[in-house]
């Protein structure tokens, strides 16, 4: 079985290499994320959003540096850190200088280490790691390095926003924490414990547990415990199939309070929650879609839907990533010297079409931006997800959230 899997992986790999050895002049961006397996939908939607953002924001406006286009290449890492390192090497060998990845902090931790090592050993082919969704705080704290930039708010910052919202709601007395058993799930639980303790010491954490990631077939036993704990709110960092499975199961088994979470929209999840999740599922994130914050945002969304009728713009930070990279390359005047590009990215203040600013904090390469609490609903939705009538609407905004959050990062610059 193992050997057969390997055989399959090798043949798939050789196909990828064969398919993408063309076009030399474009600025290549390697997208290393799961494009097969249980998290394939999350990864594929991310890839589409990157391809669209590169095309719409850069290539259709004449490219960067007077006519050079962006080209996004998809690499399937099967959500495995080991596979990601292989794909990273393949990407570097193909002349890629910019790596984007987001799904799983486990992968991001492996990649950021590998990129750091690679850049130290090969000053001629250095790469930048643009992290658009892996939110383990360690990536911009203990494990930070000069080559890594994070465009998403990290788990602690998001939890800061979530707990702001919970702290305002005096009817919440009990909170249940549940998450996937890996670095990110643990970070979410730790942050929730910390912030709730600070902001509302009267709230009891009635449950705090982890389940295996991507392996649970039926969440019923977990939701039984949650319902029995008589909790007023559930906080989870789950994503992909784990989010939908957990959420649906909790609601099905009689829970009616809010579920605060990070990733419960798009990729089929919104449509699958449908009516059952209305008023229950609440998300924290950047980038307001409903109501649309600007005409540009509405135009962007409409153009995206024209190209991908089945897709969603559920990760607006992807367009920020492409936009900021393009601006940094213009400012640096080169796409080959990634040190110059990184220096231009540091401290950049970027006006995003999704409202507000994105500031790349120089000391830890963490983006600071507005965070919102969204609600899953079918009321007041201009841009629904998954071709359903449901979408997410802003119910609370925290401007430049956690802008002064502490960091332990001691960055070594080249």
């Amino acid at each position: 079985m193992k050997n057969i899997t390997k055989l399959g992986a090798v043949s798939a790999l050789s196909l990828i290499i064969g398919a993408s050895a063309a076009f030399a002049e474009n600025i290549k961006i390697a997208f290393i994320d799961p494009l097969s397996g249980p998290f394939a939908s999350t990864g594929t939607n991310g890839l589409h959003q990157f391809e669209f953002a590169a095309d719409y924001m850069v290539n259709q406006n004449g490219g960067v540096l007077g006519g050079t286009n962006f080209e996004v290449l998809g690499f399937d890492n099967k959500i495995s850190p080991k596979e990601s390192l292989i794909q990273l090497q393949v990407a570097i060998d193909q002349g890629v200088r910019f790596i984007v990845q987001g799904n799983s902090s486990g992968v991001a931790n492996a990649l950021t280490e590998a990129v750091d090592k690679h850049n130290r050993r090969n000053p001629d082919s250095r790469v930048l790691f643009l992290n658009y969704a892996a939110v383990d705080p360690a990536l911009t704290n203990d494990k930070c390095n000069f080559w890594h930039f994070r465009f998403d708010a990290h788990a602690d910052m998001k939890m800061d926003a979530v707990t702001d919202s919970i702290a305002e709601d005096t009817s919440i007395k009990n909170v249940y924490l549940i998450g996937q058993d890996y670095s990110f799930g643990k970070a979410v639980a730790a942050a929730a414990n910390k912030y709730i303790g600070e902001k509302r010491p009267d709230i009891t954490i009635v449950g705090d547990e982890l389940h295996p990631i991507g392996k649970v077939k039926d969440f019923t036993p977990y939701s039984r415990k949650i319902v029995n704990a008589e909790t007023d709110a559930v906080i989870t960092g789950n994503w992909g199939a784990d989010m939908l499975g957990l959420g649906k199961s909790i609601i099905e088994n009689g829970y009616t309070g809010p579920i605060y979470t990070y990733y419960a929209a798009g990729s089929g999840i919104t449509a699958a929650f449908g009516d059952s999740g209305k008023g229950i599922v609440r998300l924290v994130g950047e980038g307001q879609v409903n109501p649309p914050p600007s005409d540009e945002a509405a135009a962007y969304y409409t153009a995206f839907k024209a190209k991908y009728p089945d897709g969603n713009v559920d990760q607006t930070r992807i367009s920020n990533t492409i936009g900021m990279l393009a601006q940094a390359i213009e400012a640096a005047g080169t796409a080959d010297d990634v040190v110059a590009v990184a220096n231009a990215l540091e401290g950049m203040e970027y006006d995003t079409i999704w409202g507000g600013k994105v500031m790349m904090r120089p000391n830890d390469h963490q983006a600071i931006q507005d965070l919102h609490i969204f609600e899953h609903t079918n009321e007041g939705i201009d841009f629904p997800y998954d071709n359903s009538e449901y979408g997410v609407r802003v119910i609370k905004t925290i401007e430049m959230a956690s802008a002064d959050i502490e960091t332990t990062c001691e960055m070594k610059r080249p």
Binding site: S41, K217, D218, P221, E252
Partner: protein, 318 residues
């Protein structure tokens, strides 16, 4: 104590669902002597077909038609695929089914995309059947239990009480003798393969709305089905039933109760080390049962293979 009853019901649902998959797989194994790697893929096909049919004709027609389509597809695979590969031995058969599993997954992604499908419980079953001290038992779960129990009884009746069943059983053990008596053994094989995959299809139809209909659904369930039939004993229907229920209950209870490894180790007389931070077994000591619930069936399988290699109900061959 009410929670125990609730967990028994939940475990029963999980176990019976697993049984519908493993019943077909174990029959196919005892027939052809080959593990059908693509079995869980037929389960996935069942869910997707039923979803598409339910859009046009409603859930119930999906429940009726989708397993038939899956069964016919399975029979075709046997007739035009496996039967040809059969003459080259078991390894090519194994590789054939493995390739088929990959092919079906790609095909599903190609046709339906990679997103979750909004395949939902039908409205008529979307209510709470009853509640045990605040734990609601959805009517759909009761429905799942009835369907799977009905299928088990039907299967058992056909296999043990009817003439067809007798010929099947005979063909499983002595195909050449049965053939010499004038029965069409290849047809029987094709029929059993078709029925086995149709069962997997039924499982997919009724599991799709609760466990999610997405391209990874076969992968998530695939390995545990093999574990089930190994524990139950390859080729034994009763074994498949007992092993499925056992796995259903073990995983459900392990997830429902936070049993900590520290307490277990203390109970068998191993004291907690004083300085946990520097202990090399720190992670092991801090394990809880929900974290390892999904590995427990695999541990059980290893134990069974060591102490009773033929499985719980298996007859030792050779």
């Amino acid at each position: 104590m009410d929670l125990i009853l609730v967990n028994l019901i939940d475990g029963l649902v999980t176990g019976l669902l697993l049984f519908m998959l493993s019943a077909g797989l174990t029959l196919i194994f005892s027939m052809m002597g080959v593990l059908n790697f693509a079995h869980a893929s037929f389960y996935m096909l069942g869910a997707y077909f039923a979803y598409s049919i339910s859009l046009a004709l409603g859930f119930w027609m999906g429940l009726l038609i989708a397993p038939l389509i899956v069964g016919v597809a399975g029979a075709m695979v046997e007739r035009y695929g496996l039967r040809r590969v059969h003459q080259y031995g078991h390894v090519p058969e194994l590789i054939f089914t493995f390739g088929l599993a990959l092919l079906i997954e790609e095909l599903v992604q190609f046709i339906w995309g990679k997103n979750q499908m909004p395949y939902d419980v039908p409205d008529i079953l979307n209510f709470t059947a009853f509640a045990i001290s605040g734990n609601s038992i959805p009517a759909y779960k009761i429905f799942m239990i009835f369907i799977s129990v009905a299928i088990f009884i039907g299967l058992l009746y056909v296999l043990t009480k009817t003439r067809v069943g007798m010929i099947i059983q005979a063909a499983l053990s002595y195909p050449r003798t049965v053939e010499a008596l004038g029965h069409n053994v290849p047809l029987i094989f094709m029929g059993v393969f078709g029925v086995g995959t149709a069962l997997a299809g039924v499982a997919g139809v009724i599991a799709g709305p609760v466990l999610g209909t997405f391209p990874g659904m076969a992968f998530v369930l695939g390995s545990i089905v093999f574990v089930t039939i190994v524990i139950g004993g390859l080729g034994s229907l009763w074994g498949a039933l007992v092993a499925s229920l056992l796995i259903g209950w073990i995983t459900t209870f392990a997830k429902s109760y936070n049993i900590e490894m520290e307490n277990v180790l203390n109970a068998i007389g191993i004291a907690t080390p004083e300085n946990m931070d520097e202990n090399m077994f720190r992670d092991f000591w801090s394990l809880t049962s929900p974290q390892i619930a999904d590995i427990l069936p695999y541990i059980l399988m290893v134990l069974i293979l060591i102490f009773r290699p033929a499985g719980l109900f298996g007859k030792r061959t050779q």
